[in-house]
């Protein structure tokens, strides 16, 4: 079952922060985050495993709350290069059934 992402779209000014949420009705083992720029293939950002860990990548970090079956991606001090569509992908508790969410379109304006 496809996870739900919110918001569907967000517009920011350079330097502003954003949070993108990904939630599932099923127990999750891991959550993956990818970014896709217009006309390009998706690119891996990070994977979070069951255990409620938090990871960071430059000014982009994420958390995974397995009890709530939810992950959040945090973008701080956004840059123009952050623009794109962010997809979360989830695996269920058996490490299978990988499925992407519908995506969140992020636009960073100067």
């Amino acid at each position: 079952q496809q996870p739900v992402q919110s918001p569907q779209a967000v517009i920011l000014r350079e330097g502003e922060d954003a949070v993108i949420n990904c939630s599932s009705s099923k127990a999750l083992y891991s959550v993956h985050w990818y970014r896709q720029k217009h006309g390009e293939a998706p690119v891996f950002l990070m994977i979070l495993l069951k255990g409620g860990e938090q990871k960071g990548h430059e000014k982009i970090s994420a958390s995974f709350n397995e009890k709530k079956q939810q992950s959040s991606l945090y973008l701080t001090a956004s840059q123009l290069s952050y623009s794109g569509t962010y997809f979360c992908g989830t695996e269920d508790n058996y490490g299978q059934n990988f499925v992407f969410g519908p995506g969140t379109r992020l636009s960073v304006l100067p």
Partner: protein, 115 residues
């Protein structure tokens, strides 16, 4: 090293014709995924391979779609009797293994247009 490659990059075909899309994964990657992405839409899972076998074919839209993988490497996605609704970008990805902590590396995609 070389990334995931796909061919052709663009394919225009007439309705009713068959097409074959090819994916060359990263060497050593045992898992291979096919996705379809319509204009402005998300990533629709089609099928994945673990080695040469396909444990999950649930995403294939109809029996006109089939895929195979040989030698644990190259994969071909075949669409028979193409329809206009098959027009989309077909993306292939590979990873060291399925699931858990393995990231997927995507190819550039094949843009299929059915006229």
């Amino acid at each position: 090293g070389a990334g995931v490659s796909q061919s052709p990059s663009n394919k225009v075909t007439e309705k009713g014709k068959d097409v074959e899309l090819r994916c060359d994964p990263i060497s050593g990657h045992t898992a291979l995924y096919w996705y379809r992405q319509s204009l402005g839409q998300g990533l629709e899972f089609l099928i994945y391979f673990q080695g040469n076998s396909a444990p999950d074919k649930s995403g294939l839209p109809s029996d006109r779609f089939s895929a195979e993988r040989t030698g644990g490497s190259v994969s071909t996605l075949t669409i028979q009797r193409t329809q206009q609704e098959d027009s989309a970008v077909y993306l292939c990805a590979s990873s060291l293994d399925t699931g858990l902590s393995y990231e997927q590396y995507f190819g550039p995609g094949t843009r299929l247009t059915v006229t």
